[in-house]
């Protein structure tokens, strides 16, 4: 009897819905949706394909009138030319170095602060939390100049310190918010059990909450990595020494679009090499992006 009702249920449900549109209507609607999606895909994908194609061309092929995305012979020499440029290697190394330090400091401090906002009860928590969220609405330029004056006075300019040190103070309210949302979902009994066993909050943080928060910590790490790797403005201001240049400044400074001839093939080769790390990270960690956003996305 039970199996009979189970198989029966879906069909009755379908028959119950009198407003189900005719099949042909759905077909047209679906067709339009797919057409729009394909058009949008072309818009989002084409520039990336063009970048890769151009990076394999000679300068003459870039200007050719016929429309060809990829040349007949791939110019791998573009890549060796760029990689052998000492300034490129230096900028790449600097970028890796800066990003590593910023990631370490920022992730560590955000884990601390998110714990205070989600696992500990203290007076004023909601007010302080609202204050933190309000800083999101502050345009960063408002604080930029005095920060520059401060770092200049400390004789940190030019240097990496103005970029790496602030990271240790939980920069990025949106990421604190994300991690706090995640930590708040973990059962409180774990903390209480640990506390009864005599653990102090630092031990609870490290041995109880942090191991369970790994997916969210991975998410903020990935977001931070992308943000830092791509950051142009801060390095432009603070890393004015050629020996300190990072990748965004190197690429932005190397090529001037208002002088001809424009070396599109080299610009795109450098771009491909610049994009590769973030693309690899993105493809490997895609689910953290979607999960991270669904954590923040449901709240205003």
């Amino acid at each position: 009897m039970a199996t009979l009702t189970n198989t029966d249920l879906p069909t009755t449900n379908r028959r119950l819905n009198p407003f189900k549109p005719a099949l042909s209507m759905i077909g047209i609607g679906k067709g339009m949706i797919y057409a729009a999606l394909l058009l949008a895909s072309a818009f989002f994908l084409f520039p990336l394909v063009w970048m890769i194609g151009t990076s394999f061309k000679t300068i003459d092929e870039v200007g050719q009138s016929q429309l060809r995305l990829f040349p007949e012979t791939l110019q791998w020499s573009n890549y060796s030319d760029i990689i052998n440029d000492p300034a490129f290697g230096l900028a790449y190394g600097n970028s890796v170095f800066v990003v590593m330090i910023v990631l370490f400091g920022t992730v560590l401090s955000i884990c601390f602060v998110a714990f205070a906002f989600s696992r500990l009860e203290w007076r004023g928590r909601n007010i302080v939390f609202a204050m933190m969220m309000a800083t999101l609405m502050l345009p960063p330029q408002a604080t930029l100049i005095p920060q520059y004056v401060l770092f200049n006075w400390l004789e940190w300019v030019p240097g990496f310190n103005p970029i790496t040190i602030p990271g240790f103070f939980a920069g990025g309210a949106s990421l604190v918010f994300l991690l706090r949302q995640f930590m708040a979902t973990l059962p409180k009994d774990l903390d209480e059990a640990a506390m009864i066993d005599g653990a102090n909050p630092i031990q609870i943080w490290w041995y109880v909450v942090m191991p369970l928060s790994r997916p969210a910590v991975a998410t903020i790490t990935v977001f931070l990595f992308v943000g830092q790797w791509n950051n142009l403005f801060m390095p432009l201001i603070y890393l004015k020494d050629a020996a300190l240049t990072t990748m965004p400044v190197y690429v932005a400074g190397q090529y001037n679009l208002n002088e001809s001839p424009i070396e599109w093939h080299y610009i795109m080769t450098a771009s491909v090499l610049f994009v590769i790390p973030v693309m690899i990270v993105f493809i490997l960690t895609q689910r953290y992006f979607t999960e991270g956003i669904s954590l923040t996305g449901t709240k205003g």
């Binding site: 407003f19 949706i33 989002f44 994908l45 084409f46 520039p47 990336l48 063009w50 970048m51 870039v62 200007g63 429309l67 401090s109 601390f112 602060v113 205070a116 500990l120 009860e121 203290w122 204050m131 800083t135 609405m137 345009p139 330029q141 408002a142 005095p146 920060q147 004056v149 240790f168 103070f169 939980a170 059962p187 409180k188 009994d189 909050p201 943080w205 790797w229 791509n230 142009l232 403005f233 990748m247 932005a252 090529y255 001037n256 208002n258 599109w264 610009i267 795109m268 771009s271 610049f274 994009v275 973030v278 693309m279 992006f289 956003i293 669904s294 923040t296 996305g297 449901t298 205003g300």
Partner: protein
């Protein structure tokens, strides 16, 4: 799941009983918060106040002996700065296109991706998101190439269709559409946020509406949009701030010159040139505060309008 729920409701009682535990948590709360508190004072509050003070001073890093209060000279300069008008108007013109697009395009894409029984949703989602990951420096160059007047692919196609060769990045009427095309390319994150919030809308609401005979447009206007309106509101605020921060793309495409005819001299580029190219920290701070006041006014205005169109369901407050 059940265990978690029952314990969190009994946790209130536990807290009342163990008062000393609660007191200890007070202290630990501030210990764990300390990195952010220090950062807030050192890198936000103090600098905000300092920049207010600087805005009343002659303050050039190149002339450390000539730092002094200057009797509102920076504020008087605002009135006569020949480039401030262009900076404000180009930012406004850009915003008038960019702000609506920054809401409509991600909602549209998310709505497409949220269609029922869609095949290949993860693939489309990944494709639309990917350009957001591309460093803005690279995307500026890529689009500089695609929109190039003679060799760019867009113009070659338009030319073959008999539509001529528009001068995307040099024509004063086309520069804002061109910059907005580049902006739309990086819309992936906003789209994903909208999509996540659309997927959070309870399906019973849709079913009820369909039983009542509502069509797709009505359902979107009466159910989807109100339900995602807090996220739309958040995105709108972030977009306003983003427009005042707009810097990288015009900086790379135009070397910060403001060509054509100051149309790309956006507010942040003007500020950067004064504060960091000319090292005039006094006037730069004045510009920063003017921007802060304008941004705050817009934000407060948006908050005032929020109660007419942003819907916070019962018990959904953050």
């Amino acid at each position: 799941m059940d265990i978690t729920k029952s314990s969190s409701s009994s946790q209130v009682k536990v807290k009342e009983k163990t008062f000393s535990l609660y007191r200890r948590q007070q202290l630990w709360g501030w210990v764990f918060l300390s990195p952010w508190i220090i950062g807030l004072f050192a890198f936000t509050i103090m600098p905000m106040l300092a920049s207010l003070v600087f805005s009343f001073m002659d303050f050039k890093l190149t002339e450390p002996d000539a730092i002094k209060f200057n009797d509102f000279a920076n504020y008087k300069k605002l009135l006569v700065d020949p480039l401030l008008g262009p900076a404000l108007s180009s930012t406004l013109k850009f915003a008038l296109i960019a702000l609506p697009l920054s809401i409509i395009v991600p909602i549209g894409l998310a709505a497409l991706l949220n269609s029922k029984y869609l095949i290949g949703r993860p693939i489309f989602r990944t494709l639309f998101y990917m350009p957001y990951i591309v460093p803005v420096v690279s995307s500026a160059y890529i689009w500089g190439g695609v929109l190039n007047t003679d060799t760019g692919w867009l113009n070659r196609i338009l030319f073959d269709l008999g539509l001529g060769k528009p001068n995307w990045l040099f024509d004063i009427n086309l520069i804002y559409p061109a910059l907005n095309i580049i902006g739309i390319w990086g819309v992936g994150n906003a789209m994903l946020i909208m999509l996540a919030s659309m997927q959070g809308v309870p399906t019973e609401l849709y079913e009820a509406a369909r039983v009542d005979g509502a069509n797709g447009l009505t359902i979107f206007r009466r159910i989807t949009f109100p339900m995602i309106s807090p996220v739309v509101f958040y995105n709108l605020i972030i977009s306003v701030i983003g427009i005042f921060r707009y810097f990288e793309v015009p900086y790379i495409l135009k070397e910060g010159t403001g060509d054509p005819n100051n149309a790309t001299l956006f507010y942040n580029i003007h500020l950067y040139k004064n504060a960091f190219a000319q090292q005039d920290m006094g006037y730069g701070s004045t510009l920063a505060w003017l921007m802060f006041v304008i941004a705050l006014a817009i934000t407060l205005f948006l908050f005032a309008t929020a109660r007419y169109w942003v819907y916070y369901g019962s018990g959904e407050q953050a």
